[in-house]
Symmetry: C2
Amino acid sequence: MHPVLLALDWGTTSLRAFLLAPDGTVLDRQRLALGILKVPDNDFAGVFRQIREYWPDARHLPALACGMIGSRQGWAEAPYCACPAGLAELAEALHGVPGEDRLWLVPGLSHRGADSLPDVMRGEETQLMGLGDGLHLLPGTHSKWARVGDGRVESFITCFTGELYGVLRDHSILGRLMAGAEPDSGAFRRGLELADREPALLRQLFSVRSLPLNGELPPKAVASYLSGLLIGTEISTALACLPAPDGPITVAGEPGLTARYREALAYRGLETAVADEDCAARGLYRIARVAGLLENNHD
Amino acid sequence: MHPVLLALDWGTTSLRAFLLAPDGTVLDRQRLALGILKVPDNDFAGVFRQIREYWPDARHLPALACGMIGSRQGWAEAPYCACPAGLAELAEALHGVPGEDRLWLVPGLSHRGADSLPDVMRGEETQLMGLGDGLHLLPGTHSKWARVGDGRVESFITCFTGELYGVLRDHSILGRLMAGAEPDSGAFRRGLELADREPALLRQLFSVRSLPLNGELPPKAVASYLSGLLIGTEISTALACLPAPDGPITVAGEPGLTARYREALAYRGLETAVADEDCAARGLYRIARVAGLLENNHD
């Protein structure tokens, strides 16, 4: 099959590029360590040219990009689209890049929760379009939980879990006790149990120090315990903020992190499924099709 | 009045020394920036000699010290005393310092909460002995909430609030939005309100980023908002973990921090009182008296 779309998932730390067939099949792919914060002199046009040239077939194809490339810190800012939003709303709001006549950016989504707090995502909306209806979890530095119904993202929340874990491990007194950390499923489970018992994170965090000091948790298991405590707390928060899942929760993330979240959800008796790792490519394909980018490019 | 006791509140970052009269009156005081982590070569004996020599009257007095000086990182380790514990238990467990014939260390306290988590304090037990019965809050890097009844510390919890605030401000993406922070009571109140509404800290932390990005919180107010969110969350946690206060909650801490906690407690309709800043000296005096250190030193 000949390619019809150059699809880019261009985030903060990495860039994945896909060459897609008329039916959405991934014909070829590239992964570059050129996330928007790593592009020398912000020469996004240069990186884009390099990707096009890598695939001679792609030189004249329409291209669609999602992720932080469309943020204020990226190539051009594609304003957020308000929820609920699906393929039609995203396709309608595609943002052209000045100076590039065949490149569009997918906008991010904004949402205001029942608690009146504003929330935003950028990049995940495209993965969600690739996943379809259901409750989806995209763990990471800032975990996203989103409900998609009738093809539209109805609501979502962001949890600060990944970043909190990182700063506590690297910069707080808790990290000093994490000598020679090794994955420890018993300690992870113990953190999950504690989080499930009551919402008292600020007190429970101190136990990450008091348990090892008291000889009740080996130093190498402290990191897993903190991870269980934070992930368990995130799950309690998400279940309180979002409608209950009526099917498996799809988890889309880095494999190790996905496994930990699935274990934590299973501990709560919740069914999970693992997302296809190409869900971003599929989302880009679906948005491009609705936007009409796949038409008239057979010449 | 002639002095009868040299009392030392010797913590991690500073050292306060008091010369006490037979009735506990503070006759004189010194404050040195020689907390245990700041003593060159861990020469605690040298610092102690310097304090004695500053007061010729104190050369032969019995001395009692509380705080981190009695920890594993300090001069000598005074093992923790289990709660409930009061003057009798602390006096009984005073720990002599090898090589110093008239210096004793007050032990810290340990406690296991209803949630089975171990907790510890060191230094605060002495302040609590100076404060007497009631519910007391000692805010700081690791906030302590303690219930004292019939002169004994019955239960306490530690919240990681102060340290969490510090690492988020200094090392997370939230801190990058805190340009030119100024105290902002409206933003502080907004954080308190949010925390009071539901236990969802991991989600609410993301609002510390999304509100300013959305133009709904000025950058200079972001630090106050985060402070309100964390202090409000701490109060919810403490009220859930400890028996309800049956009188004013005494707050013993640095003046600015004490004011913020009092405002936060008032927001919940809770009455507060400010602790006497010499409560540590009073606690040391009371423990010394029960331990018999004030007898037979009139020669």
